[in-house]
Structures are given as C-alpha cells and as structure tokens.
Amino acid sequence: MELDLATLAGLFGRSFSLWWAIVPGIALGLAVGILPGFSPQNTLIILLPVTLAMDVEAALAFMIALYCANHLSGSIPAILVNIPGSAGAAATCIDGYQMTKNGQAQQALVVSFVASVAGGLITSLAVLALLPFLARLGLVLRSVEMVVIILFGLTLIAVLAAKDMLKGLIGGAFGLMLGAIGTDQVFSTPRATFGFLELYDGLPLVPVLIGLFAISEALVMIEERVTGNAAPRAPQRPQWLETVDGLRMAARHWWQIVWTGFIGLVIGVIPGAGAYIASFVAYQQSRLFSRTPHLYGTGHPPGVIAPESANNGVTSGTLVPTMAIGVPGGSTSAVMMIVLQYQGIVLGPRLFLEQPSIAYGVFVMMTVAYLFMVALILPLARYAAKVVTVPVHTIVPLIIALTVVGAFADREYLFDMALALVFGVIGYVAVRTDYHVTSILIGVLLGPIFERYLLRSLRIGQGDILVLFSSPIANVLWCLLVVSVVLPIWRERRLARTAT
C-alpha cells in the first residue's frame, strides 16, 4: 500500500479536475446537512441512478464531497437554533448555541467551519500517510476496547450533570432506559416496544433528536414570546469583522483541532462506530485536558472545535476499512461501496496495487473537497448568522414544519412525526425543570451501542466479566478512563482548597 510522490501529485491534479462534481456535491451536502432527518446515505441512495451512470471517479468525487459537506453543515442549525442537523452535531449544541446566545453566532459558525475543514483536511492527509497502519488499527480495536471508548462518551453525562448531579444522572439514566427499547442485541427479541413495529429497531435517532432539541426549542421560543420573557436577541448586523474574529478564535486552538480530529479518525476506522461517539468522546476529552474546564457549556470555542473536528475526522476514518478490507465503516460508505462494486471494482488490499487512482484517490478527493470548502464555506457564516435575526413568529413555524418533515423523511413512518412531537414535550419539560436534554440524548444514543458491545464482550468471555480487562489496549483505555473521571474531581477540590 505504498504511494510515491509522483502518483500522489497526479492524483491531486486529477481530483482538482473533477471540480465540476465536487462543487455540486458540496452544495448538496451542505443543504442536506442543515435539515435534520436528511442523512447523506439517504441522499446518496436517492441519487444512485445518477451516480451509477457517472464515470466512477466523478461519482466518487461527488459522493465524497457530499458526505464531507454534510458532516460540516450539521453544526449550522446546532449553533444557530440549538437543533443538530445530525446526531454527530449534537455535542456542538452545548457550547455552539451558548455562543449564539452570547451574541457570537457568526464567530461560532466560523470556529465550527474551520474546525470541520481543518479536522477533515488533516485527517485525510494523515490517512494517506498512515493507511497501512490505520487499516490494521480497525482490527485491533475490538468489542472490549469499544466498551471503554463508549464509556468515555457516557461519562459526559456526569460532566453535564456537574451543576446538579442528581438531575443530571436522572436525565442520563432516563436516556439509557429509553435506549434499551427495541429488540435485544443477542436473540432479536422485541422488548418495551408496546407492540409498535416502529420501535422494534430501537428508538429512531432522528425523531428523538428533533424532538429533544428542535421542537422543545420551538416550544420554549413560543413560551418566551407569549410571556414576554424572551432573552435579548443576538447582533442584528453580522459583520465581516466577526468572521475574522472567529478565525482568530479557531487559530488560537489549532492544536485542539489536530488532536480531536485524530480522535475522530481513530473512532471512524472502527466499523460501525458512529460520528456521534467521536464527537461526544472528543468533547469530554477536550474538557478534561482544558485549563478552563469551567468555561465549557457557557459558549467556549473549544467546546465547538472538539466535536466538529472529531466529527469530520470520522469521515476520513470510516473510508479506511471500506477501501482497505472491503468492509464498510458506516452506512454512507456502504452506499459508496455499492457504486464501486457496480462498476466492477473489488475493494481490498489488491485495489491499492491494481487501481491506486481509486484506492488512494478517495482520500485525495476528500482532501481536495475540504480545500474547496475553505473557499466556499467561510463567506457562508456571515449570511447564515442572519438566521438569529429572524423573528420568532417566522422561525418557529419554519422549525416545526421542517423538522417534523425531517422526522418523517428518515424512515417514512408517520409514527416518527408523532414521536418527534412526544420527545418535543419531553425536551420542553426537561428544559423548564433544568434537566439537561443532552444527558438524555447521550443515553439514547450511546446506550444501545454500549449494550451491544458489552453483551458481545461478555459472550466472548463466556460470562466471565474479567474479559473486559483481558486486552492490553483495553487496560490502557481503562486507566485513561479512571484518570478522566478522577482528574476533574481532584482539580475541583484543589481549586476549592486554593480559594479557601
């Protein structure tokens, strides 16, 4: 799987010449990513007749651009109206929306764009350099290691619960209970589905996401308008100066972009691990190693950088197992695989020898797509930030209409629209009683995959719980997990002692 410089230069040249496929891919990916419920894989499936008819390289360039742009634009509604465009952007809401409330919507968008583009760019270049190593990494991180990695994400519940531990933990436990709805992970026996066919596959993420964040936020806006308690609105006229300010904020945290991007890359390499695991783990780690952990949750730029860079690092990682061993790393790469196989391309190590223009080309195209995004995205921040100036009586019906349609679009069940409304009420009650909706969401998102990997590990250990400590990598991760739980407590106590 070695690659020489001349071939690499040729691949870059070829990828730039495919701008006519990349630019529409970016535009479509951005549009789709903004709307909750419209996932890149569904969009690619709708467009399959087009991509199957295209030249294979152009089709790949288009799909990759769409995929990367989609991961990027999920943060736009997360920052502006507290509605993540995808589950991967849910962690971005925590600080992104706070920045908007603090009158820094444009800066937050710029920070998120820079983190996304730089995170994606760095990790796709890293894949080109480290492909043989990364291909093996996907086989080294197994179920036991995944249990610990997901626990990193779950500890974020405790972090969010810091202000009111009891409520935070209740929220997280409630989310975990909801996450247990659906068929069991071993025998596929339905449980807690109340006979609803729509719940057999577990709680659908999109309606839950839409309900907890979008509908509840719309209800809060309505309430504040009716009662006249609305908080002062953000700046009325976004300025270019704010874009520059956002760039400065991102540049100040360049190192964070790099290492959280790599968290995304490593998690993306593991087949089946979603972008939301990466973004929650990155957020938790970013807070852990920060000198100002108390600022997280108050509109702190690193709280936007970490999930966004990790989220886009996943895009590079997820294609590694797809290309290197012919096993899709996620649902979007599964659709890409169909297009490649339809064109007679056999994925796996031989592809790197026989058709390097495709095998390496994928990652070069990704790098080029991110380079195009630098130019296309930044100006968008100024115009996108104007959303916060839209009056409540206009934006609320828009949010409800678009997101309820989004809830339907993912699986095409009317049930999901009702479910979004139910979760909207749950989210509203949670907000009004100071329960953190993100805690509930983390439980719903991470609970089922935690259960899957835990039960799988225990079956592998044939019932012996010590299997969870049977691998050196897992043991290192366990130690890091203990450190990440103990360190903030120790640090807070030390600060309290210093203060007294």
Binding site: Y200, G272, R456
Partner: protein, 329 residues
C-alpha cells in the same frame, strides 16, 4: 349492507369504462415497483436485488425503488410489507428466505406464511460454511472440532437465528463439541471479528467469504456438495468429513409477493413470474451479479413451489433448535 343500484346510467358508465380497464389490465406494469428489503443498505441483498433488476426492469419496462427496513432479524421489514403495503403486485419484498423463515418460526410475528406472503423467484443458493482467518492454527475442520471438544470455541455469526448458526449447533450436537455463538448483526462485522481474532471461527454464507480470499479461509461447507470448490480451496463438506446427516443449510435470496396479490391479480403475478424466470437467461444480469461479488455458481433459479418447500423446511429446522436460537426457553 345495501346492494348497489344498477341504473342505465351506471351501466353505460361501466360499459364505457370497460375498454379503459382492459387497457389498464393489459398495460401492467403501469408504474414503478416498490421493494421492501428487510435488511440494511449496502448489504448482499441490496447488491443482488439491484443486479437482478438490471435485467428485470428491461423486461417489465419499469424501475424498482427500494426501501430498507432492517431490525428484529427481518421481522420489521416483513410485518411492514404484509400489513402496510398494498397487495397489488407493485409492492414486492426481496428477502433472504433462510434466516428470515427462522425468524418467523422463533418470533411468531403478525403474519402467516404462506397465507400472507409467497416467495416466487429464488435467485441464489449460498451454502453456509465454517471459516477462519488465513493465519489461524485451525488448518482443517477436524482441528476445529477437536479443539471444541477440549474447550468451548467462540463462533462469530451474522445473527443467532441464521442457517449457518443452526449448522454449527448441529455439528456440535453430532460430534460432542461445544460452540458459543456471538451475533455480529451482519456479514461484514462477522468477517471483521474473525479477521481480528476476536472469535476463534466464523460461520456465514460462503459467497461473501470467497471475496475475502487471502484474509479468510473456508474449512467446511454445510451442504451435500461444494459448488464453489475452486474458490474455497476445495473445502470439504461437513457431512463428508464427519459422517453426519446435517441437512443442507443455505441462505437463499428470493423475490416475494403478497399471497393476496396472487389471488387478486393472477395475470400480474403470471407476468412477474415469467419475466423473472427470463432474467436468468440474461448475460447482463449474470455479469452484474458477478461484479457485485456473487459467484455465478451460486445463482440458481427456484420457482414458487421450490421456495415454499425450502421455507417450510427451514421453519421446521428452526423449531428443532428453538432452545439454542431463542431467548424464549
């Protein structure tokens, strides 16, 4: 209930509509087909269905639109298809008869086979096999059984209700060896589990394993004959090695339709049956299937009777192994 009143006007309207109705009947299909796939996107079922519809859509003059409803070992897709799709012969299901009939037997879903759904065009026979990673210490299937008599071996499988899982349980029962099934929710993660060494061996349909030559090695086949001998390094059949009488265990993808659609629209069903059979003569389909990773040797047409017999046999087999395959003891 009141009987509809027949007047001159309604009679005239009816007569006038007759040629239109006849034209509409003759014009089947008038619109695209909608296909429910009870597994996820990007899997073997989707690839095979799309390869097949390349040829079929040419004969029918209409396209196929796919919807994916995975979950509960296929139960979601089947229940949704039977209960919520119009039985008009425009709505089809593309399923994997083996695992999905096991699901039917074990989970007792809200539909009846073959009263509600009928398989009518089997596309392939994909024999179940036992496989290991290339550098595994197990060189032959006998090594696996010998080791499994000493300690319980971990076996990666796509899902517990699956013909390949039944195969390894039956082998354990026949030889006194012990196997512990670990479900990985799909063929791809199952292969990764074996490649990474997370499990000792794996069981899956053999076609996918042949695409991983060099990384995975087939040790034995649960069938009376190994039709992919050339692609599996002449792996023996399990029954030949151990003298067991394990039935042929294979996955078998097939098109299915509402049984009510067959009763209501026999002409439409006839057209679907006839055209589907013709697709197997189309070189384009065979080439597309091969490009999608489906070995040509595994492509074998089976009509409605063959499919029904196979599905009922699988239900019987699942009931025999209910205790090991289900949480309901």
């Amino acid at each position: 209930m009141t009987a509809p009143m027949l007047t001159r006007r309604t009679l005239a309207a009816g007569l006038a509509a007759m040629p239109v109705a006849a034209r509409a009947q003759g014009a089947f299909p008038e619109r695209n087909f909608r296909v429910v796939i009870p597994t996820g996107q990007g899997g073997g079922a989707e690839r095979l269905a799309r390869s097949f519809d390349d040829g079929w859509s040419k004969l029918l003059g209409r396209q196929f639109e796919y919807e994916f409803y995975p979950g509960a070992a296929g139960q979601v897709g089947y229940e949704l298809y039977v209960a919520r799709r119009e039985p008009d012969a425009y709505n089809l299901l593309f399923g994997n008869m083996g695992p999905e009939m096991i699901m039917y037997a074990l989970q007792r879903p809200r539909f009846r086979f073959p009263d509600d759904i009928t398989y009518f065009c089997r596309i392939d026979i994909d024999d179940s096999c036992v496989f290991v990673r290339q550098d595994s210490p197990f060189r032959r299937i006998e090594d696996v059984v010998a080791e499994a008599k000493r300690r319980t071996l971990n076996v990666a499988t796509s899902r517990i209700p699956h013909p390949a899982s039944i195969g390894i349980l039956a082998l354990g029962e026949a030889t006194g060896s012990r196997f512990n099934l670990i479900p990985y929710a799909g063929g791809n993660p199952t292969m990764v589990a074996v490649m990474s060494g997370e499990t000792d061996i794996g069981v899956l349909p053999v076609a996918g394993i042949t695409a991983q030559t060099g990384r995975l090695r087939v040790l034995g086949i649960f069938s009376r004959e190994n039709v992919l001998a050339a692609k599996t390094d002449n792996a023996p059949t399990i029954n030949a090695v151990f003298g067991t009488r394990i039935p042929d265990l294979y996955s078998s993808r097939s098109w299915a339709i509402h049984t009510r659609a067959i009763e209501r629209h026999p002409d439409r069903f006839r057209k679907l049956e006839e055209t589907a059979r013709k697709v197997f003569e189309d070189r384009a389909f065979l080439e597309a299937a091969e490009k999608a990773g489906q070995p040509l040797e595994s492509i074998r047409f089976g009509d409605r009777a063959v499919c029904t017999e196979y599905a009922l046999g699988m239900i019987e087999l699942a009931n025999r192994f209910r205790a090991q395959l289900s949480a309901q003891r």
